[in-house]
């Protein structure tokens, strides 16, 4: 099977989610990665791409032009499967491509599709509370892979890199400016997350959350009320109505574990819960629990981690 993977980059570097998508695609068929602008595509071969097509003239992946780019690449290669990462950019482009190609779209994929007989993709639904097996009936198929759900594999391969130049029309959207959330790994990509809720009592107490995150190299998150009252920025709000994440480690301090909160974090591989109330519902979803005061436990955990890191 011939597979196209749309590869995103930032400041010339391929995103982590795109490496996952390329590696995932290579389990389905022969991957041609399609990307844009000034980008270092040299390592895509190690993740399983056989070919890379770069459209240098496109600098930002706006929805309309990126769609034309992917559709042109599909036409050129005759690919029947197109893969995106289900992140902010993928969400803007994948549905367009699916409509343009009359292709069924499996969104929120978490496993390599079964292709013996029918083409069936396992996807995350009900905010992670269930999975759906989606059968794609169309000749062309689009898959959006959830970030952090597939571990990319690296090998020796190299990809043949070529430049393309298609007619991409114009962009309807003009980007005026960009506001950074700050340095660090964005939440949807983060493998380690330290999160806190209303149990922390006030924004002035977040120092210990940030200290712990710093020791771990983790990204910080919070529960919805904390973002709503303005203790923390909105982009940190995780849950059913915030960002849904699937890190390897999610540490939650002073969060009760309401069903809407769990919906956004239950894809985490390991959950640590710190709460004064031994009856807090979050403990039911936890792998490790500490019944105790976050004001004491977080600094102690930080010290223990520093000791561990120093000994490594």
């Amino acid at each position: 099977m011939s597979v196209i993977v749309f590869v995103e980059s930032k400041n010339g570097k391929v995103s982590k989610a795109s490496f996952e998508a390329v590696s995932y695609g290579s389990k389905i068929g022969e991957v041609t990665a399609v990307t844009y602008g000034e980008v270092d595509a040299s390592s895509l071969g190690e993740f399983g791409a056989k070919k890379v097509l770069i459209h240098k003239g496109l600098n930002s992946p706006n929805d309309q032009q990126a769609t034309k780019l992917v559709v042109a690449a599909v036409t050129e290669t005759g690919a029947n499967v197109v893969i995106f990462s289900q992140d902010q950019i993928g969400k803007a482009i994948a549905p367009r491509v699916s409509a343009a190609l009359n292709a069924g779209h499996a969104s929120g994929a978490i496993e390599v599709p079964k292709t013996d007989g029918d083409f069936i993709v396992k996807t995350n639904v009900f905010s992670g509370k269930a999975f759906a097996y989606v059968k794609l009936n169309s000749e062309k198929k689009v898959i959006s892979l959830l970030p952090n759900s597939f571990s990319p594999e690296k090998s020796e391969g190299t990809a043949e890199i070529s430049e393309v130049s298609y007619d991409l029309g114009t962009a309807g959207i003009t980007v005026k400016s960009f506001k950074s959330e700050g340095e660090g790994i964005p939440l949807p990509e983060a493998e380690l997350v330290v999160s806190a809720g209303r149990g922390l009592k006030g924004p002035e107490n977040w120092g210990m959350v940030e200290d712990l995150a710093k020791t771990l190299g983790a990204t910080t998150a919070c529960s919805r009320p904390v973002a709503d009252i303005g203790w923390r920025p909105h982009h940190e709000h995780v849950g059913q109505t915030g960002v849904a994440i699937r890190p390897n480690l999610y540490i939650a301090a002073g969060i009760s574990g309401a069903i809407q909160h769990l919906a956004g974090v239950n894809g985490s591989k390991t959950i640590v819960v710190i709460n004064t109330d031994s009856e807090a519902p979050f403990f039911k979803a936890a792998d490790y629990g500490v019944v105790g005061d976050a004001f004491e436990v977080l600094p102690k955990l930080n010290e223990a981690l520093k000791k561990f890191k120093a000994a490594q």
């Binding site: 269930a130 999975f131 759906a132 009936n137 380690l192």
Partner: protein, 246 residues
């Protein structure tokens, strides 16, 4: 300004998720349906605010059966002028988007708003597909939206931050948190909603490109291991050697 807001129903966020018929159907037993929060809190309310400030109309559109009418009436109670229901089971995203795009093509709107995703399927597909069918720009994950004549300024979520973008009407957006504050319908709104027009329209032909063949619940979590608050070294040790996440 003529605005079209896509409204979908979704199970209440506290619903127990279960399946019937050999795990092929969502078990609706005891499930309360609400307006999908992203459609209601953000897309619909912001559309109403824009029309209140600049004049115009807000029409809601839903692909669904008569079972969706209470959800549609709720959107009318919040303040939409009228509603359209395309009379068909919303089988997959492509089918739904095709229906809405065809309706919008004949009726012409300055802006089509969707929620960023539904909380049951989390597909985030409808807006982008509609935009492609109509050949219009699509501003996904918009957190702010202001209009100045035909030019809209939006803020939207992108990797590592947010972007300020400009776009001319007509266009399509998906609305995320930050766009507006939830509105609770008042008694007058609820009364008025009963008599507001709800037009039922037959669907157009569209092929079924995808279907859910079965559902599955995640495996039950094994019991939580408790660690003494004074023994954080043990927790670190477990995270390293047992969970292997650090």
């Amino acid at each position: 300004m003529k605005l079209l807001v896509c409204i979908s129903k979704a199970p209440d966020t506290t619903s127990k998720i279960a399946f019937t018929d050999g795990n092929t159907k969502f078990d609706e037993n005891g499930v309360q349906y609400i307006v999908n929060p992203y459609d209601e809190w953000y897309a619909l309310v912001r559309a109403l605010e824009l029309v209140e400030a600049n004049g115009g109309t807000v029409t809601t559109i839903t692909v669904g059966t008569a079972a969706d009418d209470p959800t549609i009436r709720k959107a009318l109670a919040i303040g939409a002028n009228d509603a359209v229901r395309i009379d068909a089971e919303p089988t997959d995203a492509y089918f739904v988007a095709k229906q809405i795009a065809e309706y919008a093509k004949t009726n012409g709107y300055d802006m089509i708003l969707t929620g960023k995703e539904t909380i049951n399927y989390n597909g985030a597909q409808i807006g982008g597909m509609i935009a492609e069918f109509l050949d219009q720009p699509y501003v996904s994950l918009a957190e702010k939206l202001d209009m100045n004549g035909e030019v809209a300024t939006l803020e939207r979520m992108v990797a590592g931050g947010s972007e300020i973008v400009e776009v001319n009407t007509p266009f399509v957006i998906s609305a995320a948190k930050g766009m507006a504050e939830q509105r609770i319908p008042n008694m007058r709104g609820i009364m008025a909603a009963r008599t507001k027009p709800l037009q039922v329209v037959p669907p157009v032909e569209a092929s079924l490109l995808s279907e859910v063949v079965s559902y599955e619940l995640p495996p039950a979590k094994s019991a939580c291991k408790y660690i003494d608050a004074d023994n954080m070294d043990e927790l670190v040790e477990l995270l390293h050697n047992e969970a292997k996440v650090i």
